[in-house]
């Protein structure tokens, strides 16, 4: 894409900035702004001319098949029994039998494209993906790459992580809000996220209070407007090992500041998640309405009490492979039991019901949807985040308006949320279109439970929830420590328990960092890869992407590349054998 690099001279820059702040009616204290600007010395701006963008949008607006978001149904008979299944989408292990549960927009590019291009829908990229479809033999040269971790780099990162950890421990379990924003500790956080209004008013900051940061945010908004005045859009600033990424989603502006190895694109996608989190509470309609009436509105009033949702979502983005891969993981369960549960849930329907979702913690047990309606995994992650970070659903039955932004940014659904038993991890979410339908939905839950309790599957379900997930040793590859496998057509992924060397929080996060790094390499905007073999300090990793699946493997340092390559086939066979248990192959509709 036509990006160009500008190196503005600092004095002129300073002038432009202050000037803009005045225009945008931003409180602009010279002390703070000078400090903020000083740290931008030697910065390098990546700009994207607006005209290029428009052209791109035009080129890519290819309408989807039948003009719907529905995925193409695939028949069981098409499933491949070849020794290396899954080179073609829909035949990979874990692909659903009839139709997928999710909107068919699960490639990473779909999401980032939206972040970059504004409201161009997910349909766009699907076409692209289809075109590039080919089934390369694994190990084929060309798009693959081998890398070696530069000495010392990891150590340094490790140290940084530990520092961060210490700080978090000190600040206790609550939000580290009271932090001094001028302190070294504040600066040292690996990833900052700021949300502000177009008037430059602070809305959210991951660390430190918004008040203390209001001048910093003023500068950020000034930067955005300064560049826009020239009909450009600011995307990112790279300086001094930091990436500053901007996402403009009127009436909000989101800014991420990171020292991680993640790409600009991944950071943008994370900001997009935060944006959707806010929309899910308010709807875009309401948000627009508010700011049209009062440009200077302090949105924190409406978001009060929900900051922890955003905090938690940011934690998930750092840790949960599901958010990285745009996929959801399932509770491992015998398919016979899962089918009984799904059909019990399907039988407990109501007119206004759109989705019935049964969760075990953050794992999906089953999802029943209205015919022709698809849930986007992003919306599902937002629901997971809501349920996971609000203990309030434990008392009684919850009933709350919620917007599922990928489904419809304009309106609210109403969700009935309750746990099957007081101390259970099993949570039922019934998503309805009618805000007055509480009692009907409450009755659906009662009927579902009644039906379920009569069957032995309930017992099996409860045992599965109690049991640990599966150890990687079940696969039978001694050097394999961990893996993450995603079936693209079902949008589901599977992963074994975190093994001993990664059991502690820091190590687990380090492993996730490595996966994230590989992910961003594989999905590089200009030079995407099909496979990559990466020797890190304490492990060797292999990532492999086909049009059917996406796979990340972690081996002990004793493993070799040849071994890693042969492990892929072995693992795929194992997943194929276990797919009934690990995936949802028979999604139901009402």
């Amino acid at each position: 894409m036509g990006t160009k690099t500008l190196r503005p001279t600092i004095p002129c820059f300073l002038f432009g900035c202050a000037d803009l702040c005045d225009r945008a009616r931003v409180p602009f204290t010279t002390r703070a702004s000078k400090k903020s600007l000083r740290s931008m010395k030697g910065l390098c701006l990546t700009l994207e001319p607006a005209t290029v963008m428009e052209a791109d949008v035009h080129k890519m607006s290819v309408p989807l098949e039948n003009g719907s978001l529905a995925p193409v149904d695939r028949l069981r008979s098409e499933r491949s029994d070849s020794p290396t299944p899954g080179l073609v989408e829909g035949t990979e292990p874990g692909a659903g039998q009839d139709s997928a549960m999710f909107v068919h927009a699960q490639s990473f590019e779909d999401l980032t494209a939206e972040g970059e291009q504004g409201q161009e829908q997910e349909e766009v990229q699907e076409e692209e993906e289809g075109e590039s479809e080919r089934a390369p033999e694994f190990g084929e040269l060309g798009d693959s790459e081998e890398t070696q971790e530069p000495e010392g780099k990891e150590e340094q990162e490790q140290e940084e992580r530990e520092n961060e950890k210490e700080e978090e421990d000190q600040s206790g379990s609550g939000r580290a809000k009271e932090e001094d924003v001028n302190s070294e500790a504040w600066r040292r956080h690996r990833k900052h996220v700021f949300v502000l209004s177009e008037a430059g008013k602070p809305i959210y900051s991951r660390y430190g209070t918004e008040e203390a940061l209001s001048s910093t945010m003023g500068v950020m908004m000034a930067l955005v407007s300064f560049v826009e005045a020239e009909k450009n859009i600011i995307r990112s600033i790279h300086a001094d090992g930091y990436k500053v990424v901007f996402l403009r989603k009127s009436p909000l502006v989101l800014v991420g500041v990171s020292r991680c190895r993640q790409s600009e694109r991944e950071l943008t996608r994370e900001l997009l998640y935060i944006y959707y989190q806010i929309i899910s509470l308010l709807t875009l309609t309401q948000l627009n309405h508010i700011f049209q009436h009062k440009q200077n509105y302090d949105l924190r009033r409406l978001l009060a009490g929900s900051e922890h949702l955003t905090d938690n979502l940011l934690r998930l983005l750092d840790r949960d492979p599901g958010l990285l891969l745009s996929a959801v993981t399932c509770l491992p369960l015998a398919s016979s039991s899962r089918d009984v549960i799904s059909s019990s849930l399907q039988a407990a329907k109501a007119k206004s019901l759109v989705f019935s979702i049964l969760l075990a913690g953050s794992r999906l047990v089953t999802l029943v949807r209205k015919k022709d309606q698809f849930l986007h995994h992003m919306d599902l992650h937002l629901l997971f985040n809501l349920v996971g970070s609000s203990s309030s659903f434990r008392e009684g039955e919850g009933w709350t308006p919620i917007c599922l932004p990928k489904f419809n940014m304009a309106g609210f659904f109403h969700a009935h949320i309750s746990y099957l038993e007081p101390a259970s991890e099993l949570c039922l979410i019934l998503v309805s279109t009618d805000r007055e339908d509480f009692f009907n939905l409450s009755d659906c839950k009662r009927r579902f439970l009644e039906r379920l309790r009569r069957r032995s599957s309930y017992q099996a379900l409860q045992e599965a929830v109690q049991a640990p997930s599966y150890p990687v040793s079940q696969v039978g590859i001694p050097e394999l420590r961990h893996f993450v496998y995603k079936s693209k057509s079902s949008g589901l992924y599977t992963s074994p328990e975190i093994p001993v060397p990664y059991k502690c929080e820091e190590e687990e996060e380090r492993l996730m960092d490595l996966y994230q790094y590989l992910h961003s390499r594989m999905h590089h905007p200009t030079r995407p890869l099909r496979s990559i073999y990466h020797c890190a300090e304490k492990e060797n990793l292999l990532a492999y992407v086909t049009s059917g699946f996406e796979l990340y493997l972690c081996f002990s340092p004793l493993g070799t590349k040849a071994l890693a390559v042969s492990a892929v086939n072995k693992l795929l066979k194992w997943i194929r054998k276990e797919e009934d248990r690990l995936f949802i192959l028979n999604p139901q509709t009402y």
């Binding site: 308010l282 609000s390 008392e395 009684g396 039955e397 919850g398 009933w399 969700a415």
Partner: protein, 200 residues
């Protein structure tokens, strides 16, 4: 006082046409975030107190209370105090038999909000339909008190409402609150008459 017995949900079988009359009482809890609505609801339904997170949207709980001559089935709508959920709250107070407007005696701000809630309710309810109770919660924190007992009481008197200070934490005055709603001598007859119309 001993005529009120609060029983757990599981052991209570509702007798619909027996000698005991089962009456539905729809009760709604209103007030700012953090005043202790969910804590009051929990104390009421399970006689427990524990750390609670802000309510999302609304929580629905039921509780059966036996009076000497009637069984009341309380259907409690515990609403969220957060401003973003205000647009949906009218759903819950519409048709309520009892509305508890709660404030935190240690936060004047919440007392001011309670007055706004009362105004809001006035617009909606038909006099005689809804029994409104003003509740000053967290009376176990006298050192932090910002709203005096007298202030609360006179606000209630002006509006002709019932008034009570409570503590969901210590359980103080909780039974009294219940009695106020269920069998305050002045109001009991009136409530019973109202409930009569809603016989299950």
């Amino acid at each position: 006082m001993s005529e009120v017995r609060v029983r757990g949900r599981a052991e209570t079988g509702l007798k619909f046409h027996g000698e005991t009359r089962a009456l539905r009482v729809k009760m709604v809890l209103l007030g700012s975030s953090g005043v202790g609505k969910s804590s009051l609801a929990l104390r009421f339904s399970k006689d427990e107190f524990k750390a609670s997170a802000p309510t999302v949207g609304c929580a629905y709980l039921t509780q059966v209370v036996c009076l000497h001559d009637a069984t009341l089935r309380f259907e409690i709508w515990d609403t969220a105090g957060q401003e973003k959920y205000h647009s949906v709250t009218p759903l819950y107070y519409r048709g309520a038999h009892a509305a508890l407007v709660v404030y935190d005696i240690t936060k004047r701000e919440s007392f001011i909000r309670a007055q706004l809630w009362l105004k809001e309710l006035e617009k909606q309810y038909i006099p005689g339909e809804t029994e409104v109770v003003l509740v000053g919660n967290k009376m176990d924190l006298p050192d932090d008190r910002e709203v005096s007992l007298q202030e609360g009481r006179s606000l209630a008197e002006r509006g002709g409402l019932l008034f009570m200070e409570t503590s969901a934490k210590s359980g103080e005055q909780m039974n009294e609150l219940l009695l106020t709603i269920g069998s305050n001598p002045e109001h009991k007859i009136r409530i019973m008459q109202l409930l009569e119309r809603n016989r299950v």
